[in-house]
């Protein structure tokens, strides 16, 4: 039986409210299917299930606010396996006992106790009861502790008291801008406090890229036109393949580059605030697919409809403020990522080459790097590689 839990959708998330179930008991579910919506400080987020199965039991009622890690439903694996979906999941955001990519969420929240795995909710509860978590026997995979384990232990030790009824939450009413501001404040303050940033910038001649794009767009119907931002995004992904140290997380006092390139794409909300959902496997998508992915994310972000995994698994951040006319962006890294790439506006600027002065469309690319994870030379190599790709637009 797999436990479907309230995921952690960011370092700053402690609890979430289940808004609605999109499935019923007995329904067959497919891996990747959004089966519930959760209201968080970041708006309404769709939560996916991580393996095929049948919904055995819906435990938490809509409108209930629960801590991160709380079991929301039980999913029976197809074929009757009794593994935990959360621990099997190759994608993060499935639950509190997550391996690989999402491990940072757990570690960030200070949830590892030596080698002991414990859910945030369980840890909190243990703290409330004053129980030493080391004394509790976990029932999860590899002895991981769940909230139920702690409650059982508390009962056994005569510490349990009646839990107060879960606080009912208001029905979803769009984005809570104050909460979003606080979430951004917490993440950015932490970044500036903990990450020693270094900044590099370079000017990239975009004439080849734009010339190629103009010809390409002439061949396409207006609905399939490509914007230069797609080229920059793909160029970043290709450059990261050659300079992988900038793509990943600073965790456990070491840099942990990730193989997959999931680029967090900064999208501003018109009323204020910012989301950075990830575009998955950017290096493997063609420009048309990237346009589709960006358009889809922009629409869903502004409508407050994102998926949990999109908010947690970005391996680097990409921000383009060019539409507002700024020349360069010196970004604040989103921890535990180790780099942020920023682009200003593509403008015509004087450009010298081979002793000749001309006018070219130019963009300023900046890199904010975490100096704990990499040194300036790595960032310099990245920007140089990016520049090279922008001069070979047919390869993107």
């Amino acid at each position: 039986m797999a436990e479907f839990r309230m995921p952690s959708l960011g370092a700053d998330m402690e609890k979430g409210a289940l808004s609605v179930w999109l499935v019923e008991q007995g329904d067959h579910v497919k891996r990747g299917q959004v089966i519930a919506e959760v209201e968080t400080d970041k708006g309404i987020i769709g939560i996916e299930v991580y393996e095929d199965g049948v919904v055995e039991r819906l435990i938490v009622d809509p409108g209930t606010e629960v801590p991160v890690g709380e079991v929301l439903a039980m999913i029976r694996s197809e074929g009757g396996q009794t593994k935990s979906a959360a621990t099997e999941a190759p994608l993060p955001a499935a639950g509190p006992v997550i391996e690989e990519k999402a491990a940072h969420e757990v570690r960030q929240a200070g949830l590892s106790v030596g080698r002991l795995k414990i859910s945030p909710a369980a840890r909190k509860k243990a703290g409330e009861f004053g129980i030493d978590v080391g004394t509790i026997k976990g029932s999860g995979q590899e002895g991981s502790l769940s909230l139920a384990d702690v409650e059982r232990a508390a009962k056994e030790q005569g510490l349990a008291r009646e839990a107060p009824p879960p606080e009912a939450v208001k029905p979803a009413a769009g984005l809570d801008m104050d909460a979003m501001r606080r979430a951004i404040a917490a993440a950015m303050a932490r970044s500036n406090r903990e990450i020693p940033h270094y900044y590099l910038e370079t000017e990239i001649d975009m004439s080849c890229a734009l010339k190629w794009l103009e010809a390409e767009n002439l061949k396409r119907p207006v609905t399939d036109r490509i914007l230069p931002v797609a080229q920059l995004l793909k160029g970043v992904a290709f450059a990261l393949k050659e300079v992988p140290d900038l793509n990943g997380y600073w965790l456990d006092d070491r840099n942990q580059p990730m193989e997959s390139i999931h680029v967090g794409f900064a999208i501003s909300i018109k009323k204020g605030g910012l989301f950075v959902p990830a575009i998955h496997d950017v290096d493997k998508k063609c420009l048309g697919e990237l346009m589709g992915a960006m358009g889809d994310l922009i629409t869903r972000t502004r409508a407050g409809r994102l998926r949990g995994s999109e908010l947690t698994d970005a391996t680097i951040t990409f921000t383009s403020l060019g539409d507002l006319g700024v020349k360069a962006v010196y970004g604040v890294i989103y921890p535990p990522q180790v780099a942020l790439v920023g682009f200003g506006r593509i403008t015509e600027r004087p450009w010298t080459e081979s002793g000749m002065l001309g006018v070219r469309p130019v963009v300023t690319a900046t890199l904010s790097g975490d100096h704990r994870a990499t040194d300036g030379i790595v960032g310099a190599r990245f920007l140089d590689t990016l520049n090279r790709y922008m001069q070979e637009p047919e390869k993107l």
């Binding site: 103009e214 002439l218 207006v222 609905t223 914007l227 018109k270 960006m294 922009i298 539409d323």
Partner: protein, 85 residues
């Protein structure tokens, strides 16, 4: 199609893309994108909307001809006129 009709359709297209756009304060000669905070993605959607509503595909090389609302109305009147001929 009159200039006013073209303008109304443009407003409808833009309103779908940027619902918070304030047309009351928009001056006809103003830079439309800057005044209404329309980014490059939104602008591409405006172009797609124009193609659906007017049957006019605006090539990228003509973007400089549709910077303000007045420009856009003139440009579209001309293109629609050409189409009818």
């Amino acid at each position: 199609m009159t200039a006013q009709e073209i303008k109304n359709i443009i407003f409808r297209i833009v309103r779908q893309i940027a619902p918070e756009a304030d047309f009351d304060k928009l001056l006809p000669e103003e830079n439309l994108r800057e005044a209404l905070d329309i980014d490059s993605f939104d602008f591409l959607n405006v172009i797609i909307g124009i193609s659906k509503e007017f049957g006019v595909e605006v090539p990228e090389s003509d973007y400089s001809k549709i910077v303000s609302l007045a420009d856009m109305v003139n440009y579209l009147s001309e293109r629609i006129g050409q189409k009818i001929k």
